[in-house]
Symmetry: C2
Subunit: 97 residues, 2 copies
């Protein structure tokens, strides 16, 4: 299995509607990209200071399946239309497990 | 469920032995901290440029169980003895799912 993890911080100007749209649009992807095996996402719970704002953890059977997700037009559309307009910083890892 | 995600980058001076020790020491924690429900970790697979170096994804039944892990002496010892000496940057999120 390959696990993809990505953490975002949002720009100070990002509205609650924009942040909610990112989550709503991403939640549609498992129904549109069959390579996704597991897909969990959410906003930071506020337990610790200094955290990033939002996380996505996605599991795939193979690196090729991850690449199919990464490059899928629906995924790329969510990135371009909803994530990039409010993105401040991004941190990611893909690891085998 | 609360999912804890943390990504690290290592300092340029970090040795392969030091990086391997972080993974080996962390892998002992599920046997020592009963609140951990799931614990997956690994080094970045090298698929994408600009990624962080290492990821840990840990699941807990509750925020209190996550805090028990966060503050557990064995976990804190791994952080102090193995992670902090080679740490460059850290990004984390805890989210309910």
């Amino acid at each position: 299995m390959i696990r993809h993890v990505v953490l975002f911080t949002w720009s100070p100007e990002a509205t609650e509607e924009q942040k909610a749209a990112v989550a709503a649009e991403l939640r549609e992807l498992p129904g549109q990209i069959p390579e996704i095996r597991s897909y969990l996402l959410g906003s930071d719970a506020g337990i610790n200071p200094g955290n990033h704002d939002f996380a996505v953890v996605a599991d795939f059977d193979s690196e090729d399946d991850y690449r199919a997700y990464r490059d899928h037009p629906r995924h790329q559309a969510v990135i371009a239309e909803h994530i990039k307009p409010i993105l401040a910083t991004r941190a990611a890892v893909q690891f085998g497990c």
